[in-house]
């Protein structure tokens, strides 16, 4: 802000006194219009006054001033001896009563310097008064070009009156930038403090730019404020990143857990690793998609709830596939677990290619219901997203239900008995074959639920199972056979380590390190973390 505008600003503020709000200030208005018709210097003063009005005027004044700036830019202002006429509407510039301009009326011409000032005044007025969000967005874009020259209070007032949330965020950002570049050092320091309250990468770039500002070298108070602000923001970002890593790791671990718990139960019971587990996850996701499509046809009102409604469907379909797989194939392979690996791989090959033929290879499109969309920004760039929270909560509920099934139901009792000693369990009358079948169904159903839980986060296509399967094998190897606690701890560990190492050395290194750690770990405890006590086989 240049010095010559200061007295004018004070004058403007005086004009904007309550008396003006009543609309009874024709003299001031006439003076403004007269300046608009004056020489280049007077026109500049008029533009500044219009800008000030945009910042601090009442809605009525802004409505009065808006056509003036527009008319000056469009060259539709006709100046004559008695004032000026807005040619676009054929009304007097001051009173807005209809009148025709005098025959000798002339149109004031904007100098190059004044054009910029008028454009800014026009945009400022439009931002406050335009009804159409598109016009306001365009006005904001104009204002963003020269944030330093904006009248104080304009953006704050505009942000308060703004109804569009996206636009409001943009206005607030611009307000911060404007305040950071303000002439008043105290205002700048205050602005730094305000920005540092909400640390983010963007805030960091904004404040870092100030270190190159001349004031940084000249003004110790300013330098102190910048340094303190930077420190706060960096701390916030580091904290946010750490939290985001933990959160992502937790959600990855949730998916891993759901994929692995079924594997672990089956492996503990029958010594069989189901290589088709990844494909059961994929089928779970596809069933979820089918439920969504079905709801779209049958009951569009319930479409948002497809994730919940798909839970029983996904479980039952994948459990059915699992039971069929057990009854038709694996039942005959109990003494040959290595052959069962090949057999389940054949099933996985079959399922992937069937889905590929039926649905194609492209990613499926999922609706995003309101309960898994968006998130709460916490600190730094960490956003507590609801889709990941959904997976975590889902896994927690699954854990609880699985635990209750294994610990509290007759089926669970049988599963544990057969896991511990198959022959003895058969001797006391437990139908081991039926227990196997039910357990296989349970494990497969859990894989289907994993597919449901990851459908809002990961892309769903026929190949998706392979992304999780090897990690979930590692969870089973690490966690030990047939213990829920082992699976939980191993899933958390592998999920977190993967996500922790990824930003440092990349996803591949994370996988390499996890595998090496597991191999090393097996030297120490070959039976996994939570091995069932017993004779080593």
């Amino acid at each position: 802000m240049t010095l010559w505008r200061l007295p004018l600003l004070i004058a403007g503020l005086l004009i904007a006194a309550p008396a003006c709000a009543a609309g009874a200030e024709p003299a001031a208005r006439a003076a403004l219009v007269e300046k608009l018709c004056g020489n280049a210097g007077q026109m500049g003063e008029a533009a500044a006054a219009l800008s000030t009005l945009a910042a601090s005027g009442t809605p009525e004044e802004i409505g009065w001033a808006a056509p003036l700036a527009r008319a000056a830019l469009d060259k539709t202002l006709a100046c004559d001896d008695t004032g000026a006429v807005l040619a676009a509407t054929g009304t007097d510039a001051v009173t807005r009563a209809p009148r025709a301009p005098a025959p000798d009326a002339r149109t004031p011409v904007l100098s190059l310097k004044n054009r910029a000032v008028f454009e800014q005044a026009d945009a400022a007025l439009a931002l406050r008064s335009a009804a159409d969000p598109a016009t306001r967005t365009a006005a904001l874009a104009t204002l963003e070009r020269r944030p330093a020259a904006l009248p104080e209070g304009l953006l704050e007032a505009a942000a308060q009156g703004e109804t569009d949330p996206g636009l409001r965020t943009r206005i607030e950002t611009l307000a911060q930038t404007a305040a950071l570049n303000a002439a008043d050092p105290a205002a700048r320091i205050r602005a730094i403090g305000r920005i540092a309250e909400h640390p983010s990468r963007r805030a960091l770039t904004q404040v870092e730019a100030l270190a190159k500002d001349p004031a940084y070298a000249a003004d110790p108070a300013f330098r102190q404020a910048v340094d303190a602000g930077l420190a706060t923001i960096r701390r916030g970002i580091a904290l946010g990143d750490a939290l985001a890593t933990l959160y992502n790791g937790l959600s990855f671990a949730s998916i891993l857990f759901m994929a692995a718990i079924g594997l672990a139960i089956i492996f503990g019971l029958m010594g069989v690793i189901n290589l088709a587990q990844g494909e059961l996850i994929m089928i779970g996701a596809y069933v979820t998609w089918l439920v969504q499509q079905g709801l779209r046809q049958a009951a569009p009102a319930l479409l948002d709830w497809y994730l919940v409604l798909a839970i029983p469907v996904a479980f039952l379909v994948t459990a059915g596939i699992g039971i069929a797989l057990e009854a038709l194939l694996l039942r005959h392979l109990y003494r040959r677990p290595l052959m069962s690996l090949l057999a389940t791989w054949a099933v996985s090959l079959f399922l992937v290619n069937t889905v590929r033929v039926v649905f194609g290879t492209q990613n499926l499109q999922f609706e995003t219901p309101f309960y898994v969309s968006g998130g709460v920004p916490v600190i730094g760039d960490f956003i507590f997203t609801w889709n990941r929270m959904f997976a975590i909560l889902f896994a927690a509920v699954t854990l609880l239900v699985t635990w209750a099934t294994v610990r509290k139901t007759p089926l669970g009792l049988n599963i544990r008995a057969v896991t511990q000693n198959r022959d003895m369990a058969a001797c006391i009358g437990i139908p081991t074959r039926r227990v196997d079948m039910m357990a296989f169904g349970l494990g497969s159903g859990l894989a289907g639920l994993a597919g449901l839980a990851l459908s809002p986060i990961y892309s769903v296509n026929p190949q998706m199972g392979q992304n999780f399967i090897i990690d979930s094998f590692m969870v089973v190897v690490l966690g030990g056979v047939g213990t829920i606690a082992g699976t939980v701890v191993a899933a958390l560990g592998i999920g977190q380590i993967n996500v922790l190492i990824e930003p440092l050395w990349g996803a591949v290194a994370a996988k390499v390190i996890v595998l090496l750690m597991i191999i090393a770990f097996l030297q120490w405890r070959p039976e996994g973390l939570f091995a069932v006590k017993g004779r080593r086989k």
């Binding site: 492996f267 010594g271 069989v272 690793i273 290589l275 194939l329 005959h332 392979l333 003494r335 040959r336 677990p337 290595l338 052959m339 069962s340 690996l341 090949l342 057999a343 791989w345 054949a346 099933v347 090959l349 079959f350 992937v352 290619n353 033929v357 392979q466 090897i470 094998f473 590692m474 089973v476 190897v477 990349g506 996803a507 591949v508 996988k511 390499v512 595998l515 597991i518 191999i519 090393a520 097996l522 030297q523 070959p526 080593r536 086989k537």
Partner: protein
């Protein structure tokens, strides 16, 4: 085990391999000459058969299923590809594609010396022995076996694939390595070269088959079978099974490496897909279909399955996975000894040892 002179299927297959190896160059120039495509296909099939033998040695005779044998296959393949590229560069001065792609001026330092085949071979042998030895030692020492071992080897090959997919490792990244133009000073892609490689593959296959036959027929082979059938008892009797398993495991890895070295010059490209867990699983399928625990079975299985695959990849590529999965289920449920069970149905004359791998079951993990 029958003496090798009385092992008719073995002798028949050996004779067939040697006859084909002789026929390939002898028929050249006559009206019966095989097309270049056919000769190349025979060479590739022979390389796959060597790979199947390597897996059969540890799975069929030692009861250890590796779902990561593609690792050693690819190791041999990568080393020979490095030799071919460096050698081609030294002869013709063509800069390999992947160097240009990465914008590198020169080969990375670890490519030094790869222009000489003996050095490349030595590197491949040392690396394979080192990787297999280290991994085998830590696994067998902690008595990781059965399904555990299978899925850890699968993870191993998967991780290796991810590693090789990176472009900055200096091994061609996801595009792999191709554009081999010279081998041992001779241009590649000529009829003579193709026939020569095919004959070499067949001879190596015959040699490996005979070597494995000798090994499993020896006292050492008897120990291998004993380890497979009851390791605990063998340990109780005072045998150190760790060293035995480790030795066979390393030998098997080396054979797989040789298969890779034969395979890559014939297809003319190597990329990380050679390391995909699917390929490693497929090796086990060839062996299972041919007859696990039977060397001739592994060779026949690999030749048969891959011949069908070659043919179908022209005729109807999309039905191949369905046929493969159907074959696996059939073998697993109906013919647990693969083609040998067919032989038992008197479709073919009975062959091989009386005690078959599938009859004894597997040790529970």
């Amino acid at each position: 085990m029958t003496r090798w002179t009385a092992d008719r299927p073995f002798l028949a297959v050996l004779a067939l391999l040697l006859a084909t190896a002789a026929a390939l160059p002898l028929l050249a120039g006559t009206p019966l000459e095989m097309s270049r495509y056919l000769a190349n296909a025979i060479g590739q099939l022979a390389a796959f058969a060597v790979l199947a033998l390597s897996l059969d040695l540890i799975w069929g005779y030692l009861g250890i299923l590796s779902l990561g044998h593609g690792l050693f296959f690819a190791l041999g393949g990568y080393v020979v590809a490095m030799y071919l590229l460096k050698h081609s560069f030294e002869v013709t001065g063509t800069v390999p594609d992947f160097l240009q792609f990465m914008g590198w001026k020169d080969f990375p330092f670890y490519w030094a010396g790869f222009g000489a085949f003996p050095y490349a071979l030595a590197v491949a042998v040392v690396l394979t022995t080192l990787v297999a030895g280290l991994f085998g030692y830590v696994s067998f020492r902690s008595r990781v076996g059965g399904v555990y071992f299978a899925i850890i080897t699968q993870a191993l090959v998967y991780v290796a694939m991810l590693l090789m997919f990176r472009n900055d490792t200096g091994f061609g990244g996801n595009n792999g390595m191709t554009g081999f133009s010279v081998m041992f000073g001779w241009p590649m892609g000529t009829s003579g070269m193709i026939t020569g490689l095919a004959v070499a593959s067949l001879l190596v296959l015959a040699l490996v088959l005979a070597g494995c036959r000798w090994l499993v027929g020896s006292r050492f082979g008897a120990l291998m079978l004993a380890t497979r059938d009851d390791e605990t008892r063998l340990r109780t009797l005072g045998y150190e099974t760790l060293r035995l398993k480790l030795a066979v495991w390393c030998l098997s890895a080396l054979i797989a490496m040789v298969a890779g070295m034969l395979y890559v010059p014939q297809v003319g490209i190597i990329n990380p897909r050679l390391l995909s867990p699917e390929l490693s699983l497929e090796i086990a399928v060839w062996v299972a279909i041919g007859g696990r625990g039977h060397l001739v079975g592994a060779v026949v299985g690999a030749l048969l399955v891959n011949a069908i695959k070659f043919w179908l990849s022209f005729a109807a590529p999309e039905v191949w996975p369905f046929i493969l999965s159907g074959l696996i289920v059939l073998v697993v449920l109906v013919f647990p000894n693969g083609l040998i069970d067919l032989a038992r149905l008197r479709l073919v004359r009975p062959m091989g040892p009386r005690r078959l791998a599938a009859d004894v079951g597997e040790a529970r993990p």
